[in-house]
């Protein structure tokens, strides 16, 4: 008989193998810290950022092209990461840009998760033609690069949405474009895991007493397939942030009035060869740090949830 007393949820989380593996892994701790700092800084950007770069009244064109940590020749102001061509504080634009990037990345992945998990659960549980149709659609989609899919969706959305609303809707279009291009891997993993779980006896036990298929999927199978989903979701957030940056860099992403990290990089690269390296470098480094740390967290999570791979 076990003599462990039932303890609180927090204790169980702290005491779990995953938490222990986190405490043992310096890579995980460092990536976790980096990601956490960027995420917190992005969330609290309006309170942290020295200026609001999108408030035209606070901009002074005379401040343009101030190098980092050097006083501006005309106004004497000093900026941590310098300013861009319009005199916006680069540090502030990064904080606001990371906000947009994270929002787009996380929302797109949530959308992809909802679509992919639903499709995977149904395909894996029902099998037969439902499975065949869903998985062939997935196969077709996988045979195109996802950035092409996103561009395609973006183009279609442009055609549908009236020009007056394009700017306001841009972020949502971006989210849908990236989310739709990314559901396949969730669907595949969930389908495989569902096929394994549905053969297990706890599912049969529920069927014997007449639990409805929907309830079996949601209450029984879903919690047991979430492990691999979380791993993919984490890595997908990194990929979605990069995809968003790519699209914005190509100019089809968010409008310059609400620049994301990708937009900042696109703006910055215009000035790279004229010597104003900081306009490009700092947003690029932030994107790198964010994507890399989230990715490494995902890698660690995969190992922690899958002891066989260690």
């Amino acid at each position: 008989m076990q003599d462990t007393k039932p303890r609180g949820r927090l204790f169980r989380i702290w005491d779990s193998d995953v938490a222990a593996s986190f405490r043992r892994s310096p890579v995980a701790i460092i990536s976790g810290l980096v990601a956490l700092i960027i995420v917190l800084a992005a969330i609290f950007a309006p309170w942290i950022a020295p200026t609001n770069p999108y408030d035209p009244s606070s901009l002074n064109l005379m401040d343009g092209f101030t190098p980092p940590m050097q006083p501006n020749a005309f106004t004497g102001s000093t900026y941590l990461m310098g300013t861009d061509n319009q005199g916006r504080d680069v540090f502030s634009t990064i904080l606001y840009g990371a906000r947009i990037s994270l929002f787009v990345g996380v929302s797109a992945v949530l959308l992809a998760m909802v679509l992919g998990i639903s499709a995977g659960l149904v395909a894996g549980y029902r099998g037969g033609w439902v499975d065949a149709v869903l998985m062939r659609v997935a196969d077709v989609q996988l045979s195109f690069p996802s950035i092409l899919i996103a561009l395609l969706i973006f183009g279609v959305a442009r055609g549908i949405i009236p020009p007056t609303q394009r700017e306001a809707m841009a972020i949502w279009v971006l989210i849908v474009a990236i989310g739709l291009s990314d559901w396949v891997q969730f669907a595949r993993v969930v389908r495989g895991a569902t096929m394994v779980e549905k053969g297990k006896e706890y599912v049969q036990a529920a069927r014997v007493i007449g639990v409805s298929p929907l309830r079996i999927l949601i209450r029984h199978i879903l919690p047991n397939v979430m492990g691999p989903v979380l791993v993919i979701a984490t890595i997908s957030v990194a990929l979605a942030i990069i995809a968003e940056a790519t699209l914005s860099f190509l100019g089809v992403g968010v409008p310059p009035t609400q620049p994301s990290l990708g937009t900042l990089i696109r703006i910055g690269q215009q000035f790279l060869f004229s010597g104003e390296w900081w306009i490009l470098l700092f947003p690029a480094l932030t994107l790198l740090a964010l994507a890399l740390s989230v990715n490494m967290l995902g890698d660690w999570l995969r190992d922690a949830l899958n002891p066989r791979l260690r």
Partner: protein
């Protein structure tokens, strides 16, 4: 008694975990004489498979042998380098596992695997090795061995595969065969065939067998002596007949009583209350004390050593001499 072929002394195997070190084997000692069949029984987690793995140096890290000695003839083998151990496995110790598919490589034919094993350990030509392989397959009861030798493992049924594994284990004429649950994955009607083959062919070649199983029935029919493990410790060891019919450890007695038999239908089975402790919660004193019907104060604090109770028969119980009530 003749000099033992395999001698295990005070073997300790530990698995470090983040919640402390688990002792999977705690001071296990036994001998196997040349040509003898020693059965090793115990519940899952009792340490019987780990004993086999420790002998052949296949404890999965981070587990390790933390104490004791293993001697094969005059060689101490528990501290051999991996390379030397690899040469020893197959050549001097053959292995048969529960699932024949783990012992056979699905990508190679039976012939390739057998010939490779024979030629790795013996200096013979390909042709001679092939002849031997066919003879071996024929001996373990594969019909049309000369033709079927070029088949792949998946062409064989479960029982036939296990015969192939036995042939593979005996290919280099080892002195000892360690068989870990060789019949557990097989159907009842096939189990008897495999046990017969294993027993006969080892007897023929003078190979000793360490037969690890949870099935007392298999032991009763096959083994000369039996060792009973409980929570990583040796509870009792002795000739099969004595242990089965006159157990001296209350655990063995309870175990025997709890097995339903075909002979007499009892209304209720004798049951040992509770379950074997987890390795992280082994009680002080005798590990069996929480479940023992004859527990005394002494059992709670002092761990009984393995005491001889009759020729060749020893039990680790404070009551071993005075007598154990049979359930």
């Amino acid at each position: 008694m003749t000099k033992p072929l395999l001698s295990v002394r005070d073997l300790v195997v530990e698995f470090p975990t983040r919640r402390g070190t688990l002792r999977a084997l705690d001071g296990v000692s036994f001998d196997i004489a040349p040509g003898e069949v020693l059965g090793m029984v115990g519940e899952s987690g009792a340490g019987k498979s780990i004993t086999g793995a420790a002998i052949i140096g296949l404890i999965e890290p981070p587990g390790r042998i933390a104490g004791g000695e293993v001697w094969l003839g005059d060689t101490r083998i528990d501290q051999l380098a991996p390379e030397a151990m690899r040469r020893l496995r197959g050549r001097r110790i053959g292995m048969v596992f529960q699932d024949p598919l783990t012992s056979l490589n699905p990508l190679y034919t039976i012939a390739q695997q057998l010939i490779e094993t024979i030629r790795t350990h013996m200096d013979v030509s390909e042709k001679v090795a092939r002849g031997r392989a066919v003879a071996l397959l024929d001996r373990v009861g594969i019909p049309a061995a000369a033709r079927r030798i070029d088949d792949y493992p998946h062409h064989f049924s479960g029982g036939m595969r296990q015969r192939v594994v036995i042939a593979l284990a005996l290919a280099a004429e080892p002195e000892l065969v360690i068989a870990d649950e060789p019949t557990t994955a097989l159907d009842v009607s096939v189990q008897a065939q495999i046990i017969d083959v294993l027993k006969e062919i080892c007897a023929e070649r003078g190979a000793a067998v360490m037969l690890i199983t949870h099935d007392m029935g298999v032991i009763a029919e096959t083994a000369d002596r039996v060792a009973v493990l409980y929570a990583g410790r040796m509870a009792e060891i002795g000739p099969v007949r004595d242990v089965i019919l006159a157990a001296r450890h209350p655990y063995t007695a309870g175990l025997m009583g709890s097995i339903p038999t075909l002979q007499h239908a009892a209304d209720r089975l004798v049951q040992i209350p509770g379950a074997m402790p987890r390795l992280d919660a082994i009680p002080a004193g005798c590990a069996f004390n929480p479940r023992c019907p004859q527990v005394m104060d002494r059992c709670l604090s002092a761990r009984p050593g393995l005491k001889p109770v009759a020729p060749n028969h020893a039990a680790a119980c404070w009551l071993a001499d005075t007598g154990v009530t049979h359930g």
